[in-house]
Symmetry: C2
Subunit: 333 residues, 2 copies
């Protein structure tokens, strides 16, 4: 079983697998073996290769865990955290840990192996967002959980081990550090100014236009001022709200349209890069607040030369966000 | 010229290159082209291929910028920050920036192309540490700088673009976020307990022994309790001190011996992995403090499946530090 452990200096929590004893040969560099169509457990007709589904959108008359579905959500077969068991907290001198209680699910976004978010229709992308919402609303009922990370690793360079288009969610008994930093920053801004910092960003970026990638009725896509990565893009809903799962229907419609718009152009401009996509939303058990603003962060993997950035969180970005926004705006589709 | 920009939500500073306008084709995935011996600018006899040296250890009678050296430090030919110019700070609504003033230097650790820290003698490794110290002491005189990151990217997966063994240092006009978090955590611990948290870690780890990799008279190598990465190792000096550059001579001797010990075993156990090595030390212009404790963090690159960890700083580590420490302790050399 895995554990959550807290670093005694920084207070950062990490998930550590303390499972089976490994042999030294198990530690060698994992060559990226991505699972392709031939052995894909996510394709229609191979439902028995996954754990039983926890959610599916299927056509009428089709049975669970068989074919005839448009989208399935299943528990991760190799979960980072597990649902069964009690959440035990323990100290050992300086150190703090919890049992690795949580949920780790996979959202299989399409029955077709070769579809991707970029090649799906807007309603198909929107369906994926509704599935995220439904799973978050269900998992919120479990009071052990404090935060749910919904994310997508697309492609081997982004950490995907399966080619078939899918997202993941991890429900955690703690609030991760990166979320806490954003919340604290947003709260400071709100305390000082009585305004949401993300709403302020939308206003200032829209007025200047230099870092705007695209703007539709519900979502603004912006290359953030202090981008960590080349072509990092934030998708900010215009309708202020702290939680992804409480957003109005039109935010999902707008987000689906915007994801399609951005991914198609990113693929064209940057030769279909691998990417990570992360939904940033409020913690589960804190009061709905006025200061936070849910959004999506999209980070293509263009440089493998991320050196010490990886361990320090200190970033050197060779591409100015103004250039990135301009390149994406000027793509002809 | 590059800029330092501050994220208006988290307060994190990033370095952004705002140099020459690029064409879209410049943004494609950088295939890792590592520069090998044939074209290596760091080999003895090719001194004219680098900018003029700022420090060299050479045998008597040899002229600067010619052969006959054991170690050279030169400005980075493609610096992330530049020394010339004034440090201008500017706000633009929500956003804060500074001109990209700083220093970016390369420490060429050996005249021989195929030496690495693991294959150098202990005195050769110690020489590298003395060069770090000398450059830090010199750059400290420039009052524009607040922090100096000394680090090593070894191998393409760790971000190196040259094969020849080298380290880098970047002098910054800000204190990076990851340093600030460590300082704040160490200060909290000290305020509560009147003890250094790193000294406490050394005591507790030495007593339990489970995560100790190796222990010599001056340095303890430990797989940290909340390791972010498989086989992450911290090298902690037993002599408490906040700054790397103020450490006593025996700490450098001990660190050189420990680096050799650990790297040789890591190479044996893990098939010579690429790695990042980072010196964590106190900011330059703050009073020498009692609460911080300089140390070295070593992170082999064993998994390429770092997905969303990269953008979030939230880590899932498949290898418990107890296993990693045991594997390294049991390597036969």
């Amino acid at each position: 079983m895995s554990e959550l452990r807290k670093d005694p200096v920084t207070g950062r929590w990490v998930i550590i697998s303390t499972g089976r004893q490994k042999r030294p040969s198990d530690f060698h560099l994992e060559r990226t073996k991505i699972i392709r169509e031939e052995h894909c457990p996510f394709c229609a007709g191979r439902e028995s290769m996954t754990p039983p589904e926890v959610l599916a959108f299927r056509q009428n008359g089709h049975q669970p865990n068989g074919p005839g579905w448009d989208l399935r959500v299943v528990p991760n077969k190799f979960p980072a955290l597990q649902v069964e068991g009690s959440l035990d907290r323990e100290g050992e001198g300086l150190f703090d840990r919890m049992t690795g209680i949580g949920a780790h699910e996979v959202i299989i976004e399409s029955p077709e192996h070769h579809k991707s978010l970029a090649t799906m229709s807007e309603p198909e992308i929107e369906r994926v967002l509704w599935a995220f919402r439904e799973r978050v609303l269900d998992l919120k009922n479990d009071r052990r959980f404090r935060y749910i990370i919904v994310f997508k690793n697309h492609g081997a360079a982004a950490g995907a081990t399966l080619e078939h288009s899918h997202s993941q969610l991890i429900a955690l008994p703690i609030v991760p550090d990166f979320v806490r930093e954003e919340l604290d920053g947003a709260e400071r801004h709100f305390s000082a100014k009585e305004r949401c910092v993300f709403c302020d960003i939308i206003r200032q970026e829209t007025a200047s236009g230099r870092r705007i990638v695209h703007d539709n009725t519900d979502i603004v896509a912006v290359a953030p001022y202090a981008s960590r990565f080349p072509f990092e893009v934030w998708l900010l809903p215009k309708h202020h709200g702290a939680r992804f799962e409480d957003a109005p229907r039109q935010s999902y419609e707008g987000l689906a349209r915007m994801l399609k718009w951005v991914l198609v152009r990113m693929n064209r401009a940057l030769e279909s890069p691998d990417y990570n996509l992360i939904i940033h939303s409020s913690p589960l058990q804190e009061d709905v607040n006025d200061f936070y603003h849910w959004h999506v962060e999209l980070m293509p993997k263009l440089t493998r030369t991320a050196g010490f950035e990886w361990g320090t969180g200190f970033y050197i970005n060779p591409t100015a966000p103004e250039e990135a926004a301009q390149v994406l705006r000027e793509v002809r589709v």
